[in-house]
């Protein structure tokens, strides 16, 4: 017979024959770590200890997931270090109690164990997971600006060694069950629940006196803490981290420190050190900004909060026009999601390349069996014939960015749509209303701006035209869910949202070159401010000639700036330095690899700057994007503030450490931001002039997001 702890969060069952207590985590909906969880665990341990002859404990879960970590709602609001450290220490003491009760404890991982959940599993003596790819274990904390605060930085290195633990903790890795077994994060795999339970019982019977390695004085795998080898390992970890993050992320930095410091101490005291580092991060501005966007906003976007919903996607067959990189990728993504796909192009060789691309992508899906892979590929048909698109329920047009061409294919193809069909145009800049002018039914016409490579990029920018119906948007969103993309929904206008922000970034990067700043400092300013890719490098990757085409297009919309950068880029394209694909751009290339910034850039300068302070360069690179984001809010392109953050970070690599362009403004203070941009406008040009929206907010002392 099962009953639960007084607060109902843990189900309790005692097998009087085996003398094994089973604690089943059963919080409402999901198992998340908060005060209630702590109380339940405490009550469960009190109960277990009171069982006659207790010989072992199994911890499992009543939910699909085992335990997915901390209750972020609570953590997000916490600013008081003294309070938080007490709560963290209390949880740490509970985990400690579990592993020192004197009986073997097995974590029966029937679902994912992440963050504080995995730390609970680490506080068990043995971890057995179901051998299912859906199950993930790991410590993703640093990706949210914090670090594992319930023993993760201390138990994991003591369990699997310093290097292995660094790999998991610093990258916030989550591993699927089989890989987790290989990495030592779980000890054994079981084929099903029954096998898992018997394995757990068998392990308990065979390990009556189980103790954690850190309680037996066992040496940790690999180099000993304090040894020269360990020192080198930590040193290299610092170097690799700095190489990757340019110092923009304290969380992994402090995680290395917590690990190294803690390993020199007794286990219990090491927990204090970890707790302090955790609290330092969790109460920091950066963690708040990262949590707000990367957790709350992202989850809200994933759940389509505040957006129209339909249960009737009514799409079985998807037509894709244009089989270039984007079209081919889209075909694969749609087929993977179970749609029948017709991929059309006007050139046979393009179709062949697309087919090769899809085949190659399919072989990358290792978890698929031969039959499934064949079925997936079988869902895609490649065609030169317009008629093959007959009866498509959705056509995604992904031809070149040319209004006339797009009009032409729309007029040709729209009649092929099924009766229930709707039309999507994949474009990065052209206004949907302009494209929809030739449509027979603009209510069923929507913009879907995908990002390349489409297999990898999560974001989908959905553009709603003036006449696009709610129903069409709802169906587009349902489609988004099927292909597992993260949507933002924005209003129409040249460049929509992400392209405007991204263009501002790269063009300003080029402008800094034109002003005569050292390109090396420009790139460093980008990286050290947290931008995922520095401006000149990413400019080369998107190809300068495409941007020049964009300038031409932009001029027809009055959106191309009259600044030195434009001529610089046009000149570079004319000189054959069109970017990475051309083998020459802002960087020099050999064999397709960057070989340093092109020394000729210094001759492109039109002046000599007063100073090239990195801080100011960084403030310009982020500021110019934040201004554009604010203008998008003012224009109504951004309808929900969260989309500005999610779009910028997941779409164009805006500095995730800031939480996004609007959070960046908030954090500086709107008035301070306005003052700084006014200064920049006076010194560097009117493109820095803050929009009215910001001036009004500054006057009223408003922020985009509720301050925490």
């Amino acid at each position: 017979m099962t009953h639960t702890t007084e607060n109902g969060t843990v189900q309790l069952a005692y097998d009087a024959d085996a003398k094994v207590a089973t604690l089943t985590l059963a919080m409402p909906k999901v198992n998340r770590i908060n005060d209630d969880f702590g109380l339940g665990l405490q009550q469960a341990l009190d109960w277990a200890e009171a069982q006659e002859g207790l010989a072992g404990i199994i911890v499992d879960s009543a939910h699909k997931d085992w335990c997915v970590g901390a209750d972020i709602d609570r953590l997000f609001k916490e600013r008081n270090a003294a309070d938080l450290i007490q709560r963290v220490r209390h949880l740490g003491a509970l985990y400690r109690r579990l592993e020192t009760l004197g009986v073997p404890v097995v974590a029966a991982l029937t679902g994912s164990a992440l963050g504080g959940g995995y730390e609970l599993a680490l506080s068990c003596h043995h971890r057995i997971a179901l051998d299912e790819a859906r199950i993930q274990v790991g410590l993703p904390e640093v990706t949210l600006g914090v670090l594992p605060g319930a023993g993760g930085t201390q138990r994991l290195p003591r369990l699997i060694g310093i290097q292995g633990a660094l790999d998991i903790v610093l990258q916030g890795k989550m591993l699927r069950a089989p890989k987790a077994k290989a990495a030592g994060l779980v000890d054994a795999l079981a084929s099903d629940r029954e096998a898992l339970r018997s394995a757990a019982l068998a392990w308990i019977a065979a390990n009556k006196h189980a103790k954690q390695p850190w309680d037996t004085g066992a040496r940790i795998p690999g180099p000993r803490p304090g040894s020269g080898d360990a020192r080198n390992m930590f040193m290299a970890a610092c170097g690799m981290l700095e190489k990757k993050t340019a110092g923009a992320y304290p969380a992994p930095q402090l995680a290395i420190a917590a690990m190294q410091e803690g390993l020199a101490l007794t286990f219990d005291r090491a927990m204090e050190v970890e707790a302090r580092y955790f609290v330092k991060l969790a109460t920091s501005d950066q963690a708040k900004d990262m949590l707000r966007t990367l957790w709350f906003h992202r989850t809200a976007a994933e759940k389509h909060e505040g957006l129209p919903h339909t249960d009737a996607l009514d799409v079985d067959r998807v037509g894709i026009l244009g089989a270039g990189m984007m079209g081919a990728g889209l075909a694969f993504v749609c087929a993977k999601a179970g749609f029948d796909v017709v991929l059309k192009d006007i050139k046979a060789e393009v179709l062949e390349a697309a087919q090769a691309h899809c085949n190659a992508q399919a072989t990358k899906l290792r978890h698929l069996g031969e039959d499934d892979r064949a079925a997936l590929l079988g869902r895609i048909s490649y065609t030169l014939e317009l008629d093959a698109l007959d009866g498509c329920d959705l056509v995604i047009e992904a031809v070149f960015e040319n209004l006339d061409l797009k009009h032409a294919v729309t007029q040709d193809t729209e009649p092929k749509l099924s009766e229930r069909g709707f039309w999507a145009s994949n474009t990065s800049a052209l206004p949907i209303d302009d494209l929809a002018k030739v449509s027979v039914d603009p209510t069923k016409f929507i913009g879907l701006h995908f990002f390349s490579p489409v297999e990898k990029m999560q974001l989908l920018e959905i553009i709603v035209g003036a006449q696009t119906s709610d129903q069409t948007l709802a169906r587009a969103l349902a489609f988004t869910r099927r292909i597992k993309k993260l949507p933002i929904v924005v209003g129409d206008g040249y460049g929509f949202y992400t392209t405007r922000v991204f263009s501002a970034y790269i063009v300003e990067g080029a402008q800094l070159v034109a002003e005569g700043h050292d390109p090396v400092l420009i790139e460093w300013a980008g990286r050290s401010s947290g931008m995922v890719v520095p401006p000149l490098q990413v400019f080369d990757e998107v190809t300068l000639s495409l941007v020049v085409k964009g300038f031409a297009m932009g001029r027809t919309y009055g959106k191309t700036l009259d600044i030195a950068a434009v001529k610089l880029i046009e000149d570079m394209v004319a000189d054959g330095r069109a970017g990475k694909a051309a083998g020459a751009g802002f960087y020099a290339y050999a064999d397709g690899r960057r070989r340093g910034l092109w020394p000729g850039l210094k001759d492109k300068a039109t002046g000599t700057p007063e100073s090239s302070a990195v801080e100011e360069l960084a403030a310009r690179l982020l500021g110019i994007q934040a201004l554009e984001a604010a203008r998008c809010v003012e224009d109504g392109v951004i309808k929900q503030h969260r989309d500005a953050e999610v779009g910028a970070i997941f779409g164009v690599g805006f500095a995730p450490n800031t939480g996004g362009p609007l959070a960046y403004i908030d954090r500086m203070g709107v008035a301070a931001f306005v003052a700084r941009m006014d200064d920049f406008a006076a010194r560097f040009g009117p493109r820095y002039a803050p929009p009215k929206l910001l001036r009004n907010m500054a006057t009223k002392n408003e922020t985009f997001f509720e301050p925490v």
Partner: protein, 401 residues
């Protein structure tokens, strides 16, 4: 030759030097950095003007290796121009740092030098830096015994009984407790904080107030077994043939405590200090260091003090207050005997028996305690002295200004 002045002195509380001690989780570099930061903050010190940071630290390995002075100054956020050097004169290191600073300033080559000390005995175990002192070859060529044996030999030579040393220890505890209760350490004491600014330790945690002679009498002498059964007493015999039998009187209750802590002081010329907007608290009248017999080891404070007094043109009776490090109870007791100094003028706020002895930091801590006590009692002259391993002694004479 310019005079050297002491402008300020700060110290951290002393934490028990064990894994359960409060400061065990704090890296020694952070202990020292916090002392340095406290010194610079409260004096609004322009650290670019610090010509050197001289730090005593005995066990310079592990967390305390690689010139901790330099990295602690940087960790403290001090100006990159302020360099750092770490020195080791065993238990005299902290005072050596001050004496060196005084000599550097008095030489005219330096204007402002920060002197201090650090030791985290919980994290870096005494002796873990190795050394040749206990090599058999050194034994036969030089002679060397564990300090406890030396301390008991010193007690025996001075006729100090177990009851005498225990009574001294109880008095040390009583004085320390009274000083704590009356806030007499508060002028120098700066709390140790964690990375969140939360207090880790705000007061010395080693004292055991209420210690009685009866309680101490229950403790077994610590060095009797090694002295007698392991024959270590015999290693003193060739030098001290007149001692028939060493009387083992010392134990954990009447010897200095193993603790963690750090201290920092500012030594400068009067002119430099004034240009930094500071007022001197004391003038350094003289300094001295001596070598004595390494077997008896702990008898250095007497000759060192005499040497310093002579340099200052003073007598022992001219000194208002003394700080004599309580490495073992016999040390200050032998000192009082030999220099004929009344206990009322020695270690007025207790000593290392009650408060602990963070090896490299103690000398600098004694200086902070001494200045505070002189100011409290409105006295003028003071001296600090310590016994030192390897048979050395160190002393510093100061005068309030």
């Amino acid at each position: 030759m310019p005079d050297a002045y002491l402008f300020d002195a700060v110290r951290t509380p002393r934490g028990r030097g064990k894994e359960s001690g409060s400061l065990y989780t704090i890296r020694p570099i952070d202990l020292l950095a916090q002392a340095l930061r406290a010194l610079s903050n409260r004096n609004e010190l322009d650290t670019s003007q610090v010509d050197d940071v001289v730090v005593g630290c005995v066990t310079q390995t592990g967390d305390q290796g690689a010139c901790i002075a330099r990295f602690a100054a940087l960790e403290a956020g001090w100006h990159v121009d302020a360099p750092g050097v770490t020195l080791n004169r065993f238990c005299g290191s902290g005072l050596q740092a001050i004496n060196d600073a005084a000599a550097m300033v008095a030489s005219g080559f330096y204007d402002a030098v920060v002197a201090g000390g650090v030791e985290s005995m919980s994290r870096v175990k005494m002796g873990s830096d190795g050394g040749a002192i206990f090599d058999p070859a050194t034994q036969w060529n030089v002679g060397s015994v564990p300090q406890g044996v030396s301390a008991d030999l010193l007690a025996t030579l001075h006729g100090l009984s177990r009851a005498d040393v225990d009574a001294f220890a109880v008095e040390s505890q009583r004085r320390a407790a009274a000083a704590q209760a009356e806030g007499r350490f508060s002028r120098s004491l700066v709390p140790v904080l964690d990375i969140n600014g939360l207090p880790v330790l705000e007061a010395d945690e080693y004292p055991r107030p209420g210690t009685t002679v009866e309680k101490l009498a229950e403790l077994k002498p610590s060095f009797e077994v090694m002295g007698k059964q392991f024959g270590l007493d015999a290693l003193t015999k060739s030098k001290y043939p007149q001692v028939e039998r060493i009387n083992h009187v010392h134990h954990a209750g009447n010897a200095s405590g193993i603790v963690d802590g750090a201290a920092a002081t500012l030594v400068a010329t009067k002119q430099k200090g004034e240009s930094l907007g500071l007022k001197p608290r004391a003038k350094i009248r003289s300094v001295a260091v001596v070598g004595t017999d390494p077997i008896l080891m702990l008898a250095g404070p007497m000759p060192a003090s005499r040497k310093a007094l002579k340099k200052a043109g003073m007598q022992a009776s001219d000194i208002d207050l003394w700080e004599v490090n309580e490495a073992f109870a016999a040390v200050p007791m032998a000192f009082m005997q030999e220099l004929d100094v009344d206990h009322a003028r020695v270690n007025v706020n207790g000593g290392a028996i009650a408060l602990g002895h963070p090896l490299g930091a103690t000398g600098a801590m004694l200086m902070s305690t001494l200045i505070d006590a002189l100011e409290d009692q409105d006295k003028t002259t003071g001296a600090a002295t310590l016994c030192i391993g390897g048979g050395m002694g160190i002393a510093t004479v100061i005068e309030r200004v």
